[in-house]
Amino acid sequence: MTQAEKESLDHIILRVARRLDQSPRYKTFKAKVRDLLNNPENPYKKYFDITIIFLIISSVFILIYEVKHPIPYWMEFYDIYIVSLVFLIEYLLRLWTYSDLSSEIIREYDEAVFVGREFSIWPALARGLRRKLRYMVTPAAIIDMLAIFPAYRPLRVLRIFILFRFLKLLRYTRSINQFVDVLANKRFELLTLLFLLVFVVFTGGIAIYVLEETHNPRINSLFDSLYWSLVTISTVGYGDISPVTHGGRIISMLIIVFGIAMISFATSVIVSAFSEKLDELKEERVVEEVNKSKEFLIICGYGQMTKMFFRQAEAKQYNYIILDKDPARVAEAIHDGYDAIVDDASRYTTLSRFNTEGARVTVLCMSHDDVENIYITLNAKSINPRIRVIARASSQAIVSKYQRAGADHILLPHEAASTMMSVAILRPTMYKAIHAIFTGQNVALLDEVKVYEHSILNGRRVKEIDFRAYKLLLIGVQKADGDRFVFNPDGEMLLEKGDILLVMGHKMSIAYFRESSCGVKGGCLR
C-alpha cells in the first residue's frame, strides 16, 4: 500500500464515520435497536424475547428428538440455518449497539486536528475494537457466540453447543442473573477456591499416576488419574477406579479429608454471599412490584400514624411501599405483614427509583420530625412536581414552611384531635354526624360521583335528576372548570364532563346511582 493509498483509505473511513455520526436516522435507529435489546420497559421487547425463547426451546427439542429418531430435512434446515441465522443477527446487533465505533474515530480526528498532530485512523480503530472485544468476552456474549456454532455442520461435536442455546435463556430469567451477580461478588473467594482445587487435583492425580500406573489395571493415562482425583475430592467417589497400593490409599485418604474441608468452605462462601444479598434482592423486588402499578403510595416512616393508617379498612385497596431509615422499624413492618424497605426518603436516589413519571405517586410524610418531613417534601417535588405530597406537621406555626416546600395537603394531628374533641364537647350531634360521614359506617355516607363523558348525567340539569328517588341528597358540585365548589347548587346548573357530584346517602344508594348514571357505554365504574 502506498502512502497516498493509505491516506485515502483513512479518509474514506473517516468520511463514512462522519456521515454515520451526523445522521440522525442512523442514530435513532441504533438507539431503537439498543432499547429493544436491553431495555425491559420497551413494549416490544416482550415479543422479541418470546421469539428467541421459542427458537431456543425448539432447537433443544430437536436435539433431544434427534437422538432416537431420524428427523425430516426441514427440521434440520430450520435448526441449523434459521435458528442460527437469527442468533447470528442478534449477536451482531448486540455487538454493534454495545459501543459507537464511528464517534470514537471522529473524536480521535477532532483531537488530532485540535492539537495539530497527524491524524491516523488506527489508534482510534484499535480503541474502538478493544471495546467491542471487551463485550465479546463477557459471559453473556460468549454464550451467544457459542450458540451460533452448531450451524457449522462438518464438526458433529459442535452439536452439543446447542445446549449453549439453553444457556441463552439465562438472559431472560432474572433470578439466575441475580444468582450470577451474587457469585460475582464473591469472585475472590471462589477463584482462590478454584485455584486450590486445581492444584490439589493435579497433585493428587500425578501422585496416583506415579504410584499406581504400573499396578492398577484401570489407570492407563494421566487423564484417568486426574479424573479419579476429581471424583474422589468431590466426595462423589464412583469407585470405577480405586487405589490398590498402600501409597495410593494414603493419597486418597488425604484427598478425601481435603475434599470435605473444601466443599464446606465453598458452601459457606456461597451461602454467606446469598444471605448478604438476599435483603437487597427482596427490596428490589418490592420496588419493582410497586412500580408496575398505575397509582401507589410511598409511605415514609413506620410509626404509630402509619400503623393506624393500615389498621383502617380502606388501606387494603392501595398499592404502597413503606420506607424507613431505621432497620428495626422496617423489620417490625415486615413482621406486621407490610412491604417495607430500609431506605432514606430524603435522598434523591431513593425516590428517583420509583416510576414517578408513569404512575400517580403520592408521598406520605408520616415522621414526627418536621425537618425530615419538609426535606422529603422538597426532595419529592424536585424529582417530579407531579408527585402528590401529604405531610404531617407538628404545629400550626410550621405549616407555612410546608406550603412553601410544596406539600399538597398538610395534616396537623394534634390540632385535628383537639378540634374533634371541641366538637364532641360542644356539639355532640354534629360530632356523631361527622364521625358517621367520615367513617361511612352509617347510612349517611358522603361520597363523590364523577360525571364521565358517556354518563347520562353529562349535559343534564340538576333539577332533571331525581335525587330523592335515588334516596340521595345532593350536597354540592365540584365544577371541572376552575376547580370551584358549588354548595347546594341551583336546579338550573348544567352538569358537564369532569364535574364531581357530592352526594350523601346509604352506601348502596350511592353505588346504585353511580352504576345507573354510567350510561350505555358503561365502563366508567371506579
Binding site: 388501606a315 383537639s418 364537647i425 349517611a444 354548595f487 344508594s509
Partner: protein, 235 residues
C-alpha cells in the same frame, strides 16, 4: 343553656380545646396537676382553675361536679389519663367522660376504664389521609365544618312553638329557597339518635322537633329566624 365542662390537663391538647370551647361560650373549669401549666392557664385568663394531684380521689371529690357536666381528660401523660378516667368513672358514674388518646394502645384502655368517647389522635389523622386519597372533594367540604374558617356548618334547630312548620310534611317544605340543605332529624325518644333524611324519613313536623341542616352560617341564621313566624314568608 350553657355547657359546663371540666377539663383535666392544659397541655398540648388542653390549650387548644380550652380556647375553642371557651370561645364558643362553654363554661370551663380547668384542672391541672403541673404547677407551671397551672400558672400558664391562669395567665391565659381562665378564671376557674384548680391545681391538684389528680391521682388522689379525695382531691377529685372536692370538684363541684353536676350531673350534666362533661368531664374531659386531655392530660399529656397517657398513663395518667387512663388512671384519671378510671377514678372519675368510679366517683361520678353518671357523667359523660371524654378522653383523648395519643397512642394506639391507650385507646382501648381508656374505653375499658370507662370513657364514653375516646378521640384517637392517630385514628383521626389516618382517617383524614384515607379521605384525602379517596374523596378529596368530600374531605375539603367536611373540613369546612370543623376548622376555624367555618365555611359551612351543621346546625340543630328546634322548631319553636307556633312555627309555620308545625304540622307540615317534610316534602312540602322547600329548604332550597333558604340556601340550606335539610339533612335529618334528631329523635328525642330514641335517645337523641340522628336520623338521616335519606333513610326515607316520612314525618310530620311538630313543635319541639329538632331538625338538622347544613348551610352557610348566615343562611342558617336566616332560616332559624324565619321559622319563628306563623306564616311562611313569601319568596
Amino acid at each position: 343553656m350553657k355547657k359546663h365542662v371540666i377539663l383535666f390537663g392544659y397541655g398540648k391538647f388542653g390549650v387548644n380545646v380550652a380556647d375553642t370551647i371557651h370561645a364558643h361560650g362553654a363554661e370551663v373549669l380547668l384542672v391541672e396537676s403541673d404547677r407551671k401549666r397551672y400558672k400558664q392557664a391562669v395567665e391565659h385568663g381562665f378564671e376557674e382553675c384548680r391545681l391538684m394531684d389528680v391521682t388522689r380521689d379525695e382531691e377529685l371529690e372536692t370538684l363541684p361536679v353536676k350531673p350534666e357536666d362533661q368531664l374531659v381528660c386531655v392530660m399529656d401523660d397517657d398513663h395518667l389519663n387512663v388512671f384519671l378516667v378510671l377514678s372519675l368513672r368510679a366517683l361520678f358514674p353518671d357523667n359523660t367522660i371524654l378522653a383523648i388518646s395519643d397512642s394506639i394502645h391507650a385507646t382501648r384502655k381508656l374505653k375499658m376504664a370507662g370513657a364514653d368517647k375516646v378521640i384517637d389522635l392517630y385514628a383521626v389523622s389516618a382517617n383524614r389521609i384515607h379521605n384525602i386519597l379517596n374523596k378529596p372533594v368530600a374531605t375539603r367540604f367536611l373540613e369546612g365544618f370543623v376548622d376555624h374558617t367555618h365555611e359551612y356548618s351543621f346546625r340543630e334547630i328546634e322548631i319553636p312553638e307556633g312555627s309555620f312548620l308545625h304540622g307540615r310534611k317534610l316534602e312540602e317544605i322547600d329548604f332550597h329557597r333558604y340556601g340550606i340543605i335539610f339533612v335529618g332529624m334528631i329523635d328525642v325518644e330514641l335517645g337523641n339518635s340522628f336520623i338521616f333524611v335519606t333513610t326515607g324519613l316520612e314525618h310530620k313536623l311538630d313543635s319541639g322537633d329538632i331538625i338538622v341542616c347544613i348551610g352557610h352560617d348566615e343562611d342558617l341564621e336566616r332560616f332559624a329566624e324565619a321559622i319563628r313566624q306563623k306564616e311562611e314568608p313569601k319568596a
